[in-house]
Amino acid sequence: MDSIRLQNQPLDVVAAIAAVTCPEAGGINLFLGTTRAESGGGGGGDTNSGGAPQLLALDYEAYEPMALAEMHKLLAHARSTWPITRAIIWHRLGRVAIGESSILIALSCPHRAESFEACRYLIDELKKSVPIWKKEIFTDAARWQMEK
């Protein structure tokens, strides 16, 4: 019933909503993390200046079996805290252009407060513990997030 995956294809919001819709749900919360336009480039610091390099895309890499295992652990923990009826966590790998989404979390709960809290928990924890890395592709250079 739950769906956790890493994928190169764009994230399908309609499929996600359909997957978490069920008669027992009163609230569905969905979070999409999107690649935000940015300028600054390899050196960082000087943002929004006219001639600064622009971010073109992000490139995601994962330690796939462990990333999936960690995502399953996070969802199991969320289920022990909130009455989640259905949940999906989909993360893209490879190139993600500006305005496209890299992560989609959607879940349903009997009541709305639970759906917000559980979804927020999942994205916050995913960003801390799931072994996925992004490389920022600027017009002048590429750099890993950890090089900042």
Binding site: E61, A62, H91, S102, I103, K127, P131, W144, M146
Partner: protein
């Protein structure tokens, strides 16, 4: 004297780029080797691998610590600060 154990070290992102390798087979001859022993050998072989603050370790796809014992066939992953989402 104990026989050596063989493990695989996995590198990702910046670390893999700099090492020019993503999987490194290691033989450990220490008696009752730990993760720390494997890291010492790794640093000898690849002294230039960057080690960002906050780098974590995983043994067979679960987070672990430097004190954890290793056995033959283990997969040790070096997890630089994650940035998914």
């Amino acid at each position: 004297m104990s026989s050596p154990i063989r493990i695989t070290v996995r590198l990702f992102a910046l670390m893999a780029d700099r090492a020019g390798q993503r999987e490194i087979p290691l033989s450990l001859r220490t008696s009752r080797p730990t993760v720390a022993d494997a890291l010492a050998v790794l640093h000898d072989l690849f002294p230039a691998i960057p080690w960002p603050t906050g780098t974590m370790l995983a043994l067979n796809q679960s987070y672990t610590t430097a004190a954890a014992p290793l056995t033959d066939g283990d997969e040790l992953a070096i997890i630089p600060p994650v940035s998914g989402g």
